[in-house]
């Protein structure tokens, strides 16, 4: 019997643990949790949510594999495996907003059916393309009259506060969120808000007031336990609380404080229309013949080439984009056009590291990166010139992402590169198309190449899988 691998992120809730066995995802369910689970099944809640596409497809595992740690589980569930796991601190603004509204709606619908959610972790939501999906079945419980929303503070920390950072303060919350994976604390946000912000009723109620109450409780001025004991929470207040938060979040829009050099990219590009067309045709040819199931687009910007690749035959795509505004536009495109495309805010030169408990809980981007194909268009020079990455390391990194893909080389003569070098000493003696091509040919076979601009930009389609021709 092959070993069972417990998911290092699944430890907080003693009522069940996620584990992997022979590439499949399972969840052990304790006796206590099995009671609620049976109730949820009888009421048809699980089946309805799965049919809706809101809950990850799950079923009772017929032949439950041996569970190594000796806990005698009352039941074992199997879950559909997702192609790619992402974390809330990687999501663009609109993705986090969509996830927040999704969570609140799910909770409200659960309450209508006599159920509730035990927590409000943003990590319980995953994205399949631009569509949110709830993955923690055991978070669904039977609702008990008078109970409080125990996930309230967690919801504020992990959903609302990062959104407010962007919507009110114009700060892309991703970097701060990554450094604070349990969420942005209300007390921290309260300190960042201006007096004018605090006058807004919504911010007062959802940030200032909870922060103040927390301080008073810490100073022993208020006894929370006593207050809770005297007064159960009426269900209509519970529902009203969720509805109020939903109204608040609906109105939030990203406020970009920075002059985004990239969101205008699509309009302000150094390409003639004909050049864009040849680039698009190259991508379409690659996607149609290589048919990558999961494609990564480095520097995906607003996702126009990603969309072209998906239309031509790529199964699904993950976008990596360091500019939060561009990534947000890409996500909104994916939502509007229902693309199997999830853009993430990430710096390719500093991708998400492993963190959390034992540095295993939140896996690094590299550990999650199991891609079938890649695209790096008008991107490589941002690392080579912008970040001084040596060309050989850069090529190794790029081809290491996927067995095949398309990389664009932008020469120094190109206006965009001239702009990057304007105020700098040109220390990049080896940055030239011949060197790049030679390095690429060392690691992979060049299937096709094409010069796509008058300035000498070249697209390379490489393939490093042995002996296979697409």
């Amino acid at each position: 019997m092959t070993a069972v691998l417990f998911d290092p992120a699944s430890y907080r809730d003693r009522r069940g643990r996620v584990f992997e066995h022979q590439g499949r995802i399972f969840r052990s369910v304790s006796h206590e949790a099995a009671v609620d689970l049976a109730w949820l099944e009888r009421e048809g809640i699980l089946a309805d949510l799965i049919a809706d596409g809101r809950l990850v497809r799950s079923w009772r595992a017929e032949t439950a594999p041996e569970i190594r740690d000796g806990s005698h589980a009352a039941a074992v569930l199997e879950h559909e495996r997702l192609a790619f796991i992402s974390y809330p601190y990687e999501w663009p603004f609109t993705a986090l907003k969509t996830a927040a509204l999704f969570h609140l709606d799910l909770h409200r619908d659960a309450l209508e059916r006599g159920a509730s959610l035990a927590d409000a972790s943003a990590y319980n939501v995953q994205f399949v393309g631009a569509r949110p999906l709830f993955i923690d079945v055991l978070s669904l419980r039977r609702y008990h009259d008078g109970e409080y929303w125990l996930g309230h503070q967690q919801f504020l920390d992990q959903f609302l506060n990062p959104l407010l950072l962007c919507a009110r303060l114009g700060i892309g919350a991703q970097a701060m969120y990554r450094g604070s994976p349990e969420g942005i604390a209300t007390s921290v946000l309260a300190r960042l808000l201006s007096f004018r912000h605090k006058l807004s009723p919504r911010l007062f109620l959802n940030v200032v007031l909870p922060a103040w109450l927390q301080r008073m409780a810490a100073r022993k001025t208020i006894d929370a336990a006593q207050a809770v004991r005297r007064r159960p929470l009426p269900k209509r207040s519970y529902v009203a609380l969720l509805a109020g938060l939903r109204r608040t979040i609906e109105t939030l829009k990203p406020r970009s404080a920075s002059l985004s050099a990239w969101s205008d990219y699509a309009s302000e590009h150094s390409y003639a229309a004909a050049e864009m067309d040849s680039k698009r045709r190259f991508i379409t040819d690659y996607a149609a013949r290589a048919q990558p199931r999961l494609l990564v687009d480095l520097g995906c910007n607003t996702g126009s080439y990603t969309a072209a690749a998906l239309a031509a035959g790529a199964g699904s795509a993950i976008g990596i984009e360091s500019d939060p505004d561009a990534a947000d536009q890409a996500f909104r495109r994916a939502e509007a056009e229902r693309l199997a495309f999830l853009p993430l805010v990430m710096d390719a030169a500093d991708p998400s590291p492993a963190q959390g408990w034992r540095s295993l809980e939140r896996r690094s981007f590299a550990a999650r990166a199991r891609f079938d194909g890649m695209m790096a268009l008008a991107f490589a020079h941002h690392l080579a010139i912008g970040r001084n990455i040596p060309l050989d390391q850069l090529v190794e990194f790029l081809v290491g992402l996927a067995p095949n893909g398309v990389i664009e080389f932008v020469p120094k003569a190109d206006p965009q590169l001239q702009r990057l070098l304007r105020l700098r000493e040109d220390i990049f003696g080896d940055y030239a198309v011949e060197n790049f091509a030679a390095l690429l040919a060392r690691s992979a076979r060049i299937v096709r190449q094409e010069t796509v601009s008058a300035s000498g930009r070249v697209l390379y389609w490489y393939d490093r899988s042995s002996g296979s021709a697409p």
Binding site: R12, R14, A118, Y148, L213, I222, A224, A240
Partner: protein, 100 residues
């Protein structure tokens, strides 16, 4: 949401406050969670709810109860007034019929 409502809810909480005895005690949040677990109908949960969110819900619950009470009070006043008007009307009618 008006400030008076919020203030009245906060006052409600303060009335419920007790000075904690000195000495080692569990953290407020853990204690609140423990109390919630102990109460008959509360679901079990692994999560530390945090005092800020919980107290906010206490206030909102108090506000909802206050609003409901006001609605009830208004209904009772309305019913009493309607009764008064009816009696007044009946008395006036009786006076009319008896007056020659």
């Amino acid at each position: 949401m008006s400030m008076e409502f919020v203030a009245s809810g906060a006052a409600e909480c303060r009335r419920a406050a007790t000075r904690r005895p000195r000495g080692r005690v569990l953290s407020r949040a853990a204690y609140a969670c423990g109390v919630l677990l102990a109460s008959a109908s509360q679901a079990h949960a692994y999560l530390d709810p945090g005092t800020g969110g919980i107290l906010l819900q206490v206030i909102l619950g108090a506000i909802a109860a206050g609003a409901a009470a006001m609605v009830g009070l208004r209904a009772r006043i309305g019913a009493a007034l309607a009764g008064f008007r009816t009696r007044k009307g009946a008395a006036a009618q009786a006076k009319d019929t008896t007056t020659p």
